[in-house]
């Protein structure tokens, strides 16, 4: 819903929240349901109400637990029955500077100030440790905004007795904890308050009247920012850009003006703004975002523009470049198909409002930021939090290369008549092993990101993945070939009961479709099952809006359908009591 996308009208959202909610619920969306516990150090009512709207808008239907006013610590430490039974999927600790119980006084000695810092910090750390032990779910914690007044003026930041100084040090401790603990995320209200203005973020009026530590008019920004973290946890980040060229990545029309006359580079104000924007876009490659072009241009002109000596982006920075006269919606669809990504994983950036409107109207779920003027493009995109990073993996750094290797594979494939011969020519090697500590984060990430080749679409937190490693048969698979390493691309989890192994999870990244990796995995599952005295493997398929491609997956592997219900959920069985011949003939398995 456009009303809930940046730049939104916060007053409209606040005053219309009930009717907006009704509209969101009446849309025919298949929601992911999540339980979110809010442990508040101040009033949280409207924070919850607006978070609810922003989450509904991205397909998450939340049920909430709210602690009693300012009972966050008690709720966190003493396991109230209501919270335990609620079984939160996410816990959000809403504390702000009003919850800092011991600020230094100017009379304190250096060691007294240090003690106070330790006291305040350790209370939080105890909560986080306890919550994570009891609930095994992601925890989101606000850091602290600056105080609204400063006794020491500018020295407040410098002098150890200053509140600003104290908050800076606390925030650094929070960040250290987040950097070294999985499943723990900082909601950076310090940045948010700076961005919207501290006086807008905290207003004594709302604090004294209603005990709102976030001023009511700032709650929309607050909840929006919070929703980005939850969105990222549940794999709803965007994955790729489709970018226009003329007047988007440079000033001017390359076909008319010629590449030498484009506004790009340090020579002019406009050129500088476009250069900064190119650098900003390019930096997304490092967090695993794929860059693509859709431009109404002759290809040679498009490439000439991208090869401009002053530009930051070069043709090789892009995964796919579609410079032609097709409608852009067609190009976006082609790009999505070639990359095996859903169209809703894309952010479409174009300076032309007419193009934006057509793409938005024709492609369901695509993000189309309303970019305004070249000096503001970055901001117009950034505020949406499309690519909220939770944790950087090596995979993110090399994702662009992986997709490019895939495109080379596709070119190679054209030279083969026989698909089997092509697969052999790839010289594929796989590692398939039980879950290992170094891959837990990536495995959890995959369970939350994979939608298409995913039989049960069961989402796991990292804590749950670690638990599965203890009490389930677990498998992760890495695949590499002569074009490059794809990293961890497939995951399966089986629960053994007697002589039957129930496959609770089986997923694969779409970038290795049709490479027989699923056969290699089946072989390993069968071998492992046999070692555990299993004679029958049960597969499950639960249909979602996105996983139709694996509807007949188990059938293809030779399983027999044993059950089907009215929702299309199917259950499959494979007898492995006899001899088993390996299905995979093209991938070498490294032991």
């Amino acid at each position: 819903m456009k009303e809930l996308e940046y730049p939104f009208d916060k007053n409209y959202i606040l005053s219309k929240k009930k009717s907006i909610k009704r509209q969101l619920l009446s849309q025919n969306t298949k929601f992911t349901e999540k339980r979110i516990a809010i442990l508040g150090g101040s009033t949280t009512n409207d924070i919850k109400a607006l978070l609810d709207l922003f989450l509904l808008n991205i397909g998450i239907k939340a049920e909430f637990y709210e602690s009693e006013y300012n009972k966050y610590y008690e709720d966190a430490m003493f396991d109230p029955a209501e919270l335990v039974e609620f079984k939160p999927d996410v816990i959000f600790i809403h504390t702000t500077s009003v919850n800092i119980k011991a600020f230094p006084s100017v009379r304190d000695s250096v060691s007294e100030v240090q003690d106070k810092l330790e006291t305040v910090y350790s209370e939080f750390e105890r909560m986080w440790a306890h919550l994570s032990e009891v609930y095994h779910c992601p925890i989101i914690q606000n850091n602290f905004e600056y105080p609204n007044v400063r006794l020491l003026g500018n020295s407040d930041a410098v002098n150890i007795h200053g509140k600003v100084n104290f908050i800076n040090r606390l925030n650094a401790r929070f960040a250290d904890y987040a950097a070294t603990h999985d499943n723990f995320y900082i909601h950076d209200i310090n940045y948010l308050a700076a961005r919207i203005g501290l006086d807008n973020f905290f207003d004594p009026f709302y604090w004294y009247m209603y005990k709102y530590a976030v001023a009511v008019p700032a709650i929309a920004e607050f909840s929006y920012s919070l929703s980005h973290i939850i969105k990222a946890i549940y794999g709803k980040n965007k994955k790729a850009f489709v970018l226009d060229l003329d007047n988007t990545l440079w000033g001017g029309i390359v076909g008319d003006d010629g590449p030498e006359n484009l506004e790009i580079g340090k020579e002019t104000a406009e050129g500088e703004a476009f250069l900064a924007f190119q650098e900003y876009i390019k930096s997304h490659k490092d967090i695993g975002v794929l860059l693509n072009v859709s431009s109404k241009n002759e290809e040679e002109n498009a490439l000439a523009g991208l090869n401009h000596a002053e530009g930051a982006l070069k043709p090789e920075d892009f995964t796919l470049i579609k410079a032609n006269w097709e409608p852009k919606a067609v190009n976006v669809q082609t790009i999505a198909d070639e990359l095996s990504l859903g169209v809703d994983s894309f952010v479409f950036v174009d300076d032309n409002p007419a193009e934006r409107e057509i793409v938005e109207a024709n492609i369901k779920g695509i993000a189309v930021p309303a970019i305004t003027s070249s000096d503001k493009y970055m901001r117009d995109i950034d505020r949406h939090g499309y690519f909220e990073v939770l944790k950087l993996s090596d995979d993110d750094l090399s994702r662009n290369e992986m997709y490019k290797a895939n495109i080379k594979r596709a070119e190679t494939m054209k030279s083969f008549v026989d698909y089997g011969e092509y697969l052999k020519s790839l010289e594929m090697k796989a590692v398939i092993k039980p879950f290992e500590p170094v891959y837990m984060a990536r495995i959890a990430q995959l369970t939350n990101k994979s939608n298409q080749f995913n039989l049960t679409t069961k989402r796991y937190s990292q804590a749950e993945i670690e638990e599965a490693a203890q009490n389930r048969l677990t498998f992760y698979g890495k695949l590499s070939d002569k074009f490059g390493d794809n990293g961890v691309v497939t995951v399966a989890i089986g629960r053994v009961e007697g002589t039957i192994c129930h496959m609770e999870l089986w997923l694969m990244s779409c970038r290795v479709l049709k490479r027989d990796m699923e056969l290699a995995l089946l072989d390993e599952i069968v071998h492992t099952c046999k070692e555990h005295g299993v004679t029958q493997i049960r597969g499950y398929y639960y249909p979602t809006a996105k996983n139709a491609m694996v509807k007949e997956f188990y059938k293809g592997l030779g399983f027999d359908k044993v059950a089907e219900d009215e929702n299309g959920n199917t259950e499959w069985s494979l007898d492995i009591s006899g001899n088993y011949e390996d299905r995979n003939k093209v991938i070498a398995i490294e032991k």
């Binding site: 606040l14 009930k18 009717s19 009033t43 409207d46 009511v216």
Partner: protein
């Protein structure tokens, strides 16, 4: 703006905030007359009224309000 005109606008604000197209308020209306009007919704009402009339209440004023009539007096007073 006459009191009647101001009430037209105020009714709209109430209808939005409480999501009820039927609401009509008058001088005597209090929180007891509107089902969802609790202290937490009150804050939304105050913010919406401020926005609608382009005014700002101070803390003491909001705390003292007893019914919609008093709120209207305050609004008319502020918009002059």
């Amino acid at each position: 703006m006459t009191r009647e005109e101001a009430y037209e606008k105020l009714n709209e604000v109430f209808r939005d905030v409480f999501d009820d197209e039927e609401i009509v308020v008058n001088d005597a209306t209090t929180a007891n007359d509107i089902e969802d009007w609790d202290s937490l919704e009150h804050i939304n009402l105050v913010v919406a009224v401020e926005k609608c009339f382009g005014i700002k209440f101070n803390m003491g004023e909001v705390a003292k309000l007893k019914n919609v009539g008093e709120m209207m007096d305050l609004i008319l007073n502020k918009i002059g």
